[in-house]
Structure formats: structure tokens, C-alpha cells
Subunit: 382 residues, 2 copies
Amino acid sequence: MIKMVRKNYLMTPGPAPVPIDILLAGAQDTIHHRTPQYLEIQKKALEGAKNLFQTSNDVMLMSSSGTGAMETAVSNLVNPGDKVIVINSGKFGERWLKLCKTFGANIVEEKLDWGVAIQPERLSALLKEHPDTKIVFTQLNETSTGGRQPVKELAAITRNTDTLIVVDAISGLLAMELKMDEWGVDVVITGVQKGFMMPPGVALISLNERAWKAVENCKTPRFYFDLRQYKKNYPDSPWTPPINLIYQLEKAVDMLLKEGIENIWARHELLAQATRAAVQALGLKLYAKDPGNVLTSVCMPENISSSKIIKMLRDDWGVVFADGQDDVKGKIARIAHLGYMSQFDIITAIAALEMGLAKFGYNVELGKGVRAAQEVFMKAGI
Amino acid sequence: MIKMVRKNYLMTPGPAPVPIDILLAGAQDTIHHRTPQYLEIQKKALEGAKNLFQTSNDVMLMSSSGTGAMETAVSNLVNPGDKVIVINSGKFGERWLKLCKTFGANIVEEKLDWGVAIQPERLSALLKEHPDTKIVFTQLNETSTGGRQPVKELAAITRNTDTLIVVDAISGLLAMELKMDEWGVDVVITGVQKGFMMPPGVALISLNERAWKAVENCKTPRFYFDLRQYKKNYPDSPWTPPINLIYQLEKAVDMLLKEGIENIWARHELLAQATRAAVQALGLKLYAKDPGNVLTSVCMPENISSSKIIKMLRDDWGVVFADGQDDVKGKIARIAHLGYMSQFDIITAIAALEMGLAKFGYNVELGKGVRAAQEVFMKAGI
């Protein structure tokens, strides 16, 4: 049988594709980090990142995955016994829960079906019931489902109270609108292996003034992730930063600023629209009731295991989707349209899905999903 | 208007896509070329290239474009006044003509319509008419049209005569079957920016024993391209070799040998089949009457300028096709499926062509060409 070359079509919600210019930015001489030469690079990256967070607050970096930034938020804000509301609509909502439990919070869990957004009124009601709530933890985009939470509306509620809102925007930042200052979001965290188009290894966090007050008053023991250390050293790092990744961060921020935040948001919205239209044209159902723009989670036809089709697409063709997690493992495919993606990446994803489904016996009209995506792009003037 | 990220989808018949592993192979420390360390690398590359030429003769490299190798062939084989037959079915047939003229050959031009293959009997007749012909010059693939010449059949004729056959396989090698020794081809040349998946800058040439005899007897003045110097120094170079490109050549040869020549040929054949099926499904006509597997030249609909559509695809979407040359400039698009290409590159090319045609007012059913390509791939068990 003829074998095709197997390229790397990374359509997972992190890591996401890394442009060669960013890859190469990492292949520079490793200089020492306690030097003015290095500090200038890190400062430029962090100052530029403010625009991407839509904030005038400092953005700080840590040498960690996104989960490290989640722990940073919890360990710097939550005292044992503090009441917190955790909006849980998926795997990463659960991670907030686990972290809050680890650090001894008094948790009010708002459990939603996976992929479902909370109604803002519901948060108002919860806060009425629990006026002593110190923090609300939520996601901009829930990576396990592709579902969104209405962060703007939630922050509009919390900003007029003494309750802080902490947003996990690890996969969501850049792919979806988030205006930290304008909306009154208190803490935003992200990881760079998503919309920042980088290899993993750096997390970013930004806090507004009232969040910093909570940090100062927090008694929870922490060391590596102690934000007071990061603040004291800003824009320098308290511990050794991942030097070559910061070269890449500087390059990534530069590329993103050149594209412009408004276009980045609109581009992701369009990529998401095209993907949703395409899979629906193939007769497939969307899994998330309230989808965001990071990824499209697609229900597989009844008799087809998403795990098997995802394995074949990955191993044979190099097209990498993510499987569902927990209860929906084997049932959904998560197709990311995140970061360095063009219309042709969507077409590749959909064409691969079509051929994969056909291989697994699903009655698919080849090219039909592709056409639906093409129509969305053309209607948008692309 | 929303702007997509503009990636580089290089679908031209040279340069062709360069895999990142080959790019990075060039980013190694530049060592001195008159060292055993360097020589080992060059030797490995050249010895490996023999299999790709399907020859046990030495393959030599020069620091030049493909045209340099064409001049090498002519200036080392043709004495002023020597009779040569030039099979001319396009721009690169014309280049053989120009070179032969430059070096004073007595030229018998076999002028064919662009994109048309010679009938082997016609060569027999020509040789009967001109039994003193010293060399036949032809192309494996004519890059200007995507048309092929029947090299196997032509060599079957020349090998039983005193006439040599010199094949410009610059774009054709690897994309199309060529068995130098088995077929009795006397001289094969190529450039690395095609099937070898490299940036330009290196040309390769191989000669069999009877061609070497002609080189020894050739009185034409030449210096840089004097093959006697290359032979004397093999596997070393007479002049400074393009060191970092040779690192890439070693890597490219390694990757190609791992894929295997039979699969490389079959893969290109399948990519070509899918492309031809796709453009025909869109109601477009193939330009070359006898197409090879390097590229598909497609006639644009009557009122659509290929130059304009190619410009838009390139500048707006990063999808780079080649325009026609000379008389067919503005009339055809040349879509290459050459080198480091997978089924999804073809799908990208076709989807882009569909959307481009629709933008220029051609009544195209979006997705129809893509489907035709998908069907070819699936039928082949991909």
C-alpha cells in the first residue's frame, strides 16, 4: 500500500501549532538570566502581554504548566475556610475544585452539565445565598468540552461586590474575547501552548488591585508560586525563568500584537463557525450546548468509537484531534481551531474527518463538510 | 475584514516544501570543508543519492542551480559542430536548445507542442535520418507544462547506438520513475529544490561509463563545471561546496532512503492522480496532453486570468501556484505535487482553487474537487 508522508497537523486544544519563526526564536544562544540583556527580553514580552490580557496590570510569568498558574491563583488567594464558588462544567472546573479542596476552602460547587454555561442570574442568586463568598472560580473556555462560560456577565456581577472572580483562560485567552480591565475580571491566568502559539512551559497570570490585596492578606503557605515574590521582582523572575522559552514568548507576543487582538478574536470566531458548520453538514451533533471558539467537540455517530477514529487519524495521517475525557471518552472528538490556524487547517481537519468517518463505515458525503466550511469563509469575505 | 494567518503553502514545481528536519539540518555549525569530518557527510549524501538515481555510477554535486547542471552536461559533452537532437516541448527544452547553441552544436530540433510527448518511433526515425547524432537531450518532466517524455523508451533506442541520451530530471527525479542503469540513460541531472525537499543551491549529476568517455574527449573550454575536476576529487569537491546545504542533503537523502524509492514514485503518482481528478471534476481541462507526476497544469476558464487568480491565492491566502510561461502566461495554473506532500496538501490546493475560482466568478460547486481527490485517495487505501 502506498504511504503518504505524515505531517504534523496538530488540532488539539494545547499544544497548538507553533509557527517556525517562534520555534527558531527558541534556538538562540542561552544567555544568563541575571543580566540586563536577558531582562530586556523578558520585560518586552511581559509588557506586550498586557495588551493581550487587555489590562494595565502587570502580567507575570512562571516556569510551569497552566495547572501551576491555577495553583498560584488558589494558594495566593484562598485561606483555609474561605468560602468559594466553583463553577464546574467539565474537567477543568473539577481541577478548580480539587485545588480549592487541597487548600482547605469552604466550597460551594455549582455543578453544571458538561459543556453548559451558567446563567448569570444563577450566580447572582448564589451570591445572595452566600454573601460571604470570597472568590468565584470559573473558566473562559472549558477545554474538556469546548464549552464557554459568560465571563463578561459574571464579572459584571462580582465587580460590584467584595467577591473576586478568577478566570482560567488557559485555553480561552486570545481565542475568545476577554477584556480584563473593562469587564472587571480580578485574576486571569493562561498557558502559552495555546493561543500564544508556543511550546508548553510558561504560564502567565495577571491580578488587579483588589486581587493583590487578597494576596497580601493570604496566610496559605506557598513558596515557588508565592506571587509576592513575583511582584517584588517584576519584570524579573524570582527563580530561574525558562530562558529560551522567553525568547519565544517575546517573538509570540510580537507576532500577536502585529496581528492585533481584535483580529485574533474575530479569526478564531470564524474558524469556529466554519468548523461547527462543517461537522453539522456531515450530520454530526455538537457536544457542547454553549460552545466557545477554542475547539469544537463533536459527537461521533452511535457505532463509531471516537478513540479508534482519533487513533487512526493520528497514527496514519498525522491529523491529531483530542478524544473526550471521562464519561465521553470514545464518544466525542475535540477538534481545536486554536492559535496559528488558517482556513486551510480547518479544511484539512474536516477532510480528514470525512475520510476517517467513511473508513469506519459512516455514510458520509465526501466534501460536504469541506463545502460548508468554505461557504462560511467565503461569506466572511475571506 | 477578518484576516487569516497566512501560512506558506508552496505548491510550485520548485522550490517545493522543505520539511523542518531538513531546514534544521542546515542550522548546524559550519565546519571547514577540507576536513575528514566534512568529507564524511558529503560522501554519505552522495553515496546515498546513487539509489535515488538508480545507478551504481557516482553522483556528483555542484554548487549551482539546475541550469548549472544543464550547462555542465552540454559543456562537458558537446564539441563545436557536434550533431545533437533536442526534444523541445517547453521552456526547458528551449533551454537545452540555447545551451547547445551557446556551445556551437549542430542542432536538430524536434519541436513538439507544449505538453506533448515524443513518440519513440519518431526518435528512431530521426536517428536513422541523422546517424551521426552524438547526443539526444530531453526532459523527464518539462516543468513549464507538467508534460513528460518517455525516457525509458527513448533510452531503449539510444542505448543500442553510439548516441548518448542526456536527461534533465531536475523536476522529475523522484516524482517519476527513472532507472538510470536499468534503462541505459547516459546522463541524469537534477536540482535539490524539488523532489529532494531542499532549499535551492545544489545540483546533482551522474554519468555512465560511455558518457565519461565523451567527457574525456570533449575539447570545449570549461572550468567551474569541468566534470574531470569533479571526478578527480570525488567524493570531495573541486571548489568550495555549499557546506550547510550539504548537511541538509545528507538529511534529505536519509529521509528519502527511509521512505524508499518505490513508495516515493507511487506517492507522487497518487498525488498527481488525485489532483487531475479534482480539477477535472471542477470542469477544468488539463493543459498537458501527456502529463507527468510533478505538477498538474490546469487551463483556466475562458474569462479568468490565471495570473490574477494566482496572485490572489498567493498574496491573500499563501497558496502558491505557478503561472504559465510565455504563450500560456495568464492561461494556465501549474499546481505542483512535488516532494514533501501529503494528501492534505492536495486538498488544500484544491479547496483554495475552488474558492479562488468562485471569487473570480466561475460557477464552481465548492467541495466537488476536494471530493474527487478524497475518492482517489480512499480508493488507493489511504
